[in-house]
Symmetry: C2
Subunit: 184 residues, 2 copies
């Protein structure tokens, strides 16, 4: 069988979702595709790049239309989409956050947040600080939430971070600060 890069990425996502990140090895993925490990390197230069492509694809699959008019509602929309996209696959948050940490792909959410904050009339400095704060909040919350979900499904009872409600309450904390800085 002959594969393309997109086949490799797609299969990587299904291995990730079914067996988790620790099982997503180049060798395991090759076996899953019925191919030698070395064959993967015709489609992808290395594992890091593959994981970045997986992160991008996870975000792409989670895309939704923008509905909100007000800038602060749009921020909530963007952040919720981001959270939902990451939660849709096992270890999705971990993969997306790691890729973002290493400066690979996943630059789109940041761009959309920046645009929303600029629409709100915030100064360029505040746009910078606010975008970073929002991203860190979404990433941190979602990694923690997914961790708790997986721990819970493995039998452990834990003081979970709570679902979308707790998420939006954290967001609102930062949004309050940002609203106070409009035309500041």
């Amino acid at each position: 069988m002959r594969y393309h890069r997109s086949d490799v990425v797609a299969r990587a996502i299904s291995v990730l979702d079914e067996y988790g990140l620790e099982s997503l090895t180049m060798r395991r993925l090759a076996t899953e595709l019925g191919v030698q490990p070395s064959a993967l390197y015709h489609h992808v230069p290395n594992k890091q790049t593959l994981l970045a492509a997986v992160a991008d694809e996870i975000l792409l699959r989670g895309k939704r239309p923008r509905r909100a008019e007000r800038w602060d509602r749009r921020v909530v929309e963007i952040c919720s989409e981001l959270r939902d996209a990451m939660l849709a696959y096992r270890d999705g948050a971990e993969v997306v956050v790691t890729a973002h940490t290493f400066g690979l792909g996943a630059g789109e959410p940041a761009g959309q947040l920046r645009a929303a904050l600029r629409d709100g009339g915030l100064s360029e400095d505040v746009v910078d600080v606010g975008t970073r704060a929002l991203l860190h909040l979404v990433f941190g919350h979602t990694v923690e939430e997914q961790m708790a979900l997986q721990a819970a499904s493995a039998g452990a009872i834990n003081h979970a971070p709570g679902g979308p409600a707790d998420f939006e309450r954290g967001l609102d904390l930062v949004l309050d600060g940002l609203r106070a800085r409009v035309n500041g």
Copy 2:
């Protein structure tokens, strides 16, 4: 030579600081101590536990006396100490954040933040949301900042997150939201 657990942890930190997290392997650490890899398992049950102990020790070494009276100034103090402690060692932020993600050690900063927010007269719900938001902000910011520092020292020019000023501006965003909720 006969070692104790604390020797192993201390040496792990110096390997981390000098060669980075990717070089901190059990085998490398063993070589550094002049011992067989298997000998390490007399002091530590596995690598994950060792890394959690390293994270705790990094935070311990960064401890400073509390000076601030007002609860919101104390939050800044706690968060700044946390950031400085992680920045003090190469890949320190990565190690501390990973340990925290897996629910290992590093529970102290959360406890101190909770106490400060309670002193501010915030409701228990807001204390929960606020503590998590602050931790995610500090962790996210510091990992990003340390990444940029290391990239810069490796020659790359990058739109860095900025030093303590940008850090405190992000913190202030959340603190504004929290101040607005006192007796709310």
